[in-house]
Symmetry: C2
Subunit: 376 residues, 2 copies
């Protein structure tokens, strides 16, 4: 067993408690200090001190006094702040570049998307396009008084655990170190951006803000020309040893089928990818066949159909679910199949949430503000 | 996102530190207090106090003074104790019942296995057989001065997250609550036993004591009449939402193949299960096809071939690995395929380790011994 055991120091405990309180507010919405104390098991005095710390960092805010009608001193609710700290989401896909700014409550506050054929363009040209939309997004965020603390760049390719893009076949990009790529975007110092796979980031967004919010395990299918998936188990994204977990598009559903660009035959992508232009029924049948393997191997609570599949609606999801239940083992304990919720910007939201998750895990990443700032 | 965030109290921190120290000794073998301090980042004084506590609970022991030859006071090594606390492993399979006792270092100290055709027998008869081997194993352990703190019962079937056996097709057992089943074994009070799936427990044993010891992610294939698998990610077993993760035997590898008992066609089990009596080449090809889906979906570091597959040796594992790499995506980042290490008693060892893992996670589960006991 690989040991990740580490002792805890006093600072760790305080960080952990700050994270507990901020996480409650982000996950479950505004509530009073007393309710926070009850929910977390911390004393009211401890919660008050932690909230004061989080206020000082601009991570939470006090909501206006609730309407009168209750006797006694009104409880003031505390909420995750939508006003100060934000995450930056960047995306390059085959047909567009985009940059967005997402606040701690998951709202997309700024979005710039520029259609462009990135398959035909040189790397430098694509990065120039991305640099321009990123600069505009950051400018808009600043104008609204928001500070981006970091983020991620979504790419339609395989990213290894060290953050290197191994290959993005549809862009023709191979072996690019994340740091090198990000350096060419000319982002302001202090905004750390990592690379990640589009399907992983979309799943992450659905987990935090979308259809996966109340699930601890699901597979989010992200369909377009290619078909990727984000695998979430125990509330965490599974990346795989080499970074290519979730390559659902290359699960073989028909050994005698069409050749796939990957070198195999009858991969899901050759039938259900948008380029295959197959009938809805054929797509549902191929998806169900590939998802049967998913269910047998990891038995998730639900399958979320995202990307272009989300637009096919509830009836299509139900059709896939019916075919999946035709498999005997899963018939008895069905796996729920439903559309994803966040639409085409899921990966961008997920990219921004990388930074937001880091802040929730360790609120001390955001410095305390000076007294002058606080009165502003 | 489902929140498992909890605040930490002082007792939690101490428990955590005890767990850190005991875990180091169990995972990495004997070492001095100074080495433990260096490795864990705790002060030497803290480590000494924690070791004293663990000595008092009989969980660690001091090794004899190392041979002379070094100047100064010799460092005394501390080791996980093989002498006091143990886990009880129980197993029912189609052709035998077994009970074993495993110490904190992973050694099987007692093993009683009784061949019997459990397919033809009534539930009560099978439980009587198990009760007898369990009583003998516990008697032998007591004679050696060891106390079993708990364990698990390995079954060839699906066990849900609440510990209920949903179905064990080859035994003809369905819907048995774990507590009811265990109550019929007449175990002494204080020995808590839960039910688990054979493939899960075998994977758990390989993770803690076998071929998975240095891996954080792997899939352990447990082959016999049926084919199950244990999926380990981030050093933890993946159970699935309904308890049937790892049902590798029912991944379809040939849509037009033989009907399977599960109601589908061409499941891996119909080709590579021992009842199919297929050639080694056909088994390797079918395994590789099913494992390709595993690799695409979760991208583990390695595949461990256990059960009857382990006996086929390194050449067979290499043949499966070669066929798996034939799939283009994994060719570039190959997944290691190798035989498992613990042999036919892997599930029994895993069953015992359920209790040992609980003790490592929280050493305070084992009470401090009275002064009289300590001098004994």
């Amino acid at each position: 067993m690989t040991g990740a055991r580490q002792p805890l120091g006093i600072g760790d405990v305080r960080r952990h408690h700050l994270s507990v309180v901020l996480g409650e507010l982000v996950d479950r919405g505004p509530r009073s200090r007393a309710a926070l104390a009850q929910r977390t098991g911390l004393t009211k005095a401890t919660v008050s001190a932690l909230v004061a710390d989080l206020l000082d960092r601009g991570l939470v805010e006090e909501l206006a006094t609730p309407p009168a009608g209750r006797v006694g001193r009104p409880a003031i609710d505390v909420a995750a702040s939508a006003g100060h700290v934000a995450g930056l989401g960047l995306a390059v896909d085959v047909d567009h570049v985009a940059a967005g700014v997402v606040d701690l409550t998951g709202r997309v506050r700024v979005l710039h998307r520029r259609p462009s054929d990135n398959r035909a363009a040189r790397l430098g040209t694509v990065l120039d396009r991305l640099r321009r939309v990123a600069a505009r997004a950051l400018g808009d965020a600043e104008a609204e008084g928001m500070a981006c603390v970091g983020g991620a760049l979504s790419l339609p390719g395989l990213v290894d655990p060290a953050g290197t893009l191994l290959v993005a076949p549809n862009l023709g990009w191979t072996a690019i170190a994340g740091d090198d790529l990000v350096a060419r975007l000319g982002l302001p110092a202090g905004i750390a951006v990592t690379l990640d796979n589009e399907a992983n980031l979309a799943a992450r967004a659905e987990l935090r803000f979308g259809a996966g919010r109340d699930l601890s395990s699901f597979v989010h299918v992200s369909a377009g020309v290619g078909i990727g998936a984000g695998v979430v188990l125990d509330g965490r994204l599974v990346r795989g040893a080499h970074g290519f977990a979730g390559e659902l598009g290359h699960v073989v559903v028909d050994r005698t089928g069409r050749p796939c660009a990957c070198g195999s035959r009858g991969c899901l992508e050759t039938i259900a990818g948008s380029a295959a232009d197959a009938s809805s029924d054929a797509v549902a049948a191929a998806l169900a066949a590939a998802l049967r393997s998913v269910v047998q191997i990891i038995d998730p609570q639900a399958i979320l159909l995202g990307g272009s599949l989300a637009g096919r609606g509830d009836d299509f999801a139900a059709a896939v679910g019916d075919r999946l239940q035709g498999a005997a083992l899963s018939a008895r304990w069905p796996c729920d199949v439903r559309p994803a919720r966040l639409g085409p910007d899921a990966a961008l939201i997920g990219a921004a949430s990388v930074a937001l998750d880091a802040v929730v895990a360790d609120p001390t990443l955001v410095p305390r503000r000076s007294p002058a700032d606080r009165t502003a």
